[in-house]
Symmetry: C2
């Protein structure tokens, strides 16, 4: 039984991690490290340092803190011999992950950089379909209202918070899993609110190594219906992953409509990784975001007041 | 004898590549592909396509074009069975390199992503010194006048042109070679001229995996003396690489003052790589730049009129 501590008891931890841990065999929540938030019946510490100095025994930590502080916490936990599960994105930079991977390997502990959208039910069937039927063109629409999904989470618009790429990286985590060839950015524009340090909209053009065009449109101010769709044109029809990968359609006909179970999938995989002494760190989605900041043209858009 | 074509006969090709090729055994210049520029006595084509369709036999191409167009040229050359030498930076994104590396490996051809500053004479001695004497703190000052060194090169301030990171990446290519531990960005600010799409100044704070602080200050508007210095505090004194790695000092006492020979070093290494059927692609310097764009706070500074 893996004795787990959650570090950072914020919205994602409460909405997703707690119920998923509850449902997963082989892992149990024994502690919370969070500045203010507490959970009834679970040992509470105000910081990871305090937790590690205590006599509460933990085998693993799930880092649900903002990405800007995650690296230091991961390094600390690994140096104390703990397995580490990282919420997405796995860090504030790509380069900071290599030393963490090396530390995990040196200590024989599991480091798992999670991409929750990859555990959506339509993802593996889409991957299998596209291995058989080559994509000809890809269109991503990822449009949600930050005011609904991230109320008060100002860190998202701080440097390293990714802005609209915080949801957009979910689309990239699916794309890098389901497309049969590697791809890369060819052109991008990023809209930065005049009063913020991260983009609130983005238009991205990628190509894969065989020339297939991939277009992604990200918007963080979408009102009305929210859109998390990926459309892939193939010789066998138009494949659509809808609602963040939870539904799969071929030419509009439903292939898969399964209940959402991303986080239970994450924790099941974590328990399995720990049992096998393995790790799972794929940086491709974060790499694409870094590339978008590197190559993208910056456009100043209206201030965002939240 | 490697029959080489230069693609993009601009300033760096004329100033550095031509004399270096002339000096290097085992390689000869047989063609130029450049929109307008020609070289007396050497076959000229207006594009790489035209060159590859001609009956001039070439074994390798050196891509001296701006980074925004290099990937497509590299992919084309590799698909025609040519070895490829890439000027720095190796591309406009990090992700675009993986398919090129795979293509080179599949065809048994050499892909060499050059970092010319790594061939400066002080670099390998500095690396050896720092393997013996651990760094305690690192300070980089990389300050030059873009108007002197890049006259009319507007691509530098276009998206993907890197701005002040075009020289700054040279410092990062040295740092990633000489420091004994991997490092990563913790904080950055990038100054973008109001009328340009790439930064003209940057202040970067890194840390290595053992906590050693690394500070880098980049400026593209330096008048008067130009500065390309790296200072490393160690228990055995202060090591200084000066003038872009061409001189090495310990507590101010000169250890090495050798003539500059970066590009001859590059071509010697390229001839050796081709002979061994090997490649050499280290993306760490470009990764750090992408991380700086990802994590850095953007500040708008005075317009740059060139």
């Amino acid at each position: 039984m893996i004795r787990l501590a959650i570090v950072g008891l914020g919205k994602i931890a409460r909405d997703q991690h707690l119920p998923a841990i509850e449902k997963t065999e082989g892992i149990e929540l024994v502690a919370i490290a969070s500045r203010n938030a507490t959970l009834e019946g679970v040992a509470h510490f105000t910081s990871l340092d305090e937790l590690l100095a205590s006599d509460v025994a933990v085998d693993a930590v799930a880092l649900c803190t903002p990405p800007q502080v995650r690296r230091e916490q991961a390094a600390l936990a690994l140096s104390h011999g703990k397995h580490v599960l990282l919420e997405k994105p796995p860090g504030a930079t790509v380069s900071e992950l290599a030393p963490l991977v090396a530390a995990a390997q040196a200590s024989g502990k599991t480091l798992f950089a999670t991409w929750h959208s990859r555990f959506a039910p339509a993802v593996e069937p889409a991957r299998a379909f596209l291995a058989e039927h080559a994509p000809r063109a890809v269109m991503v629409e990822w449009k949600e209202d930050v005011r609904v999904w991230h109320p008060g989470q100002d860190w998202i618009f701080e440097p390293g918070g990714l802005g609209v790429f915080d949801p957009g990286i979910n689309a990239l985590s699916i794309l890098t899993r389901i497309l049969p060839n590697p791809f890369f950015l060819t052109k991008a524009s990023l809209g930065f609110p005049a009063n913020r340090d991260a983009p609130i909209e983005a238009a991205l053009d990628f190509a894969d190594s065989t020339g297939v065009p991939i277009r992604a449109e990200l918007d963080f101010l979408q009102t009305g219906p929210q859109t998390w769709d990926i459309h892939v044109e193939t010789g066998a029809g138009r494949l659509t992953l809808s609602l963040g990968g939870s539904r799969l359609f071929l030419d509009g006909k439903a292939l898969i409509e399964a209940p959402e179970a991303e986080y239970p999938g994450i924790y099941k995989h974590f328990v399995d990784l720990v049992a096998r002494g393995a790790g799972d760190v794929d940086l491709a989605p974060l790499q694409h975001v870094a590339d978008a900041f590197l190559l993208g043209r910056r456009i100043v858009v209206a201030p965002f007041e939240g």
